[in-house]
Symmetry: C2
Subunit: 81 residues, 2 copies
């Protein structure tokens, strides 16, 4: 049995997000005036040979050990549709 | 009125995804044997001064003009929860 998990790793609020800022600038230059804010988030789709509950637990471990830096990142884990 | 939209820009199937491959390798080395595949996806959270329907239409435009390269990328747009 396999489960597809989506992990989103974003910056904690207050951390500088130069990629988001630059996308916002580019959108301003292109005339998208109604855009107020852009945040960039890194996302991983992981296919894992476990049931949902175990896969989520494993991904929690994966975030702590590899994908997220607790000083600057916050992450969320969900089952992908 | 503001709407928060989430845009996901991923690689079309068949395109090389070195970041995903390297995350998979790192997970193998760390002993996460049940992980079968990792895909990396870029995600943008955009706050936009429009109602939902108009915001989605604007983000479609944003993907075409700035965020996605139609040769290699596919994108999805959804209202963020």
């Amino acid at each position: 049995m396999t489960t597809e998990i989506e992990i989103q790793v974003g910056l904690k609020s207050g951390m500088a997000d130069p990629e988001g800022v630059n996308v916002k600038k580019a959108l301003d230059l292109l005339g998208f005036d109604s855009v107020k804010k852009v945040d960039s988030v890194k996302c991983y789709r992981i296919i894992i040979n476990k049931n949902e509950a175990e896969a989520i637990k494993e991904c929690e471990e994966i975030c702590k050990k590899l994908l997220a830096n607790p000083v600057v990142h916050e992450y969320s884990i969900s089952v992908a549709k």
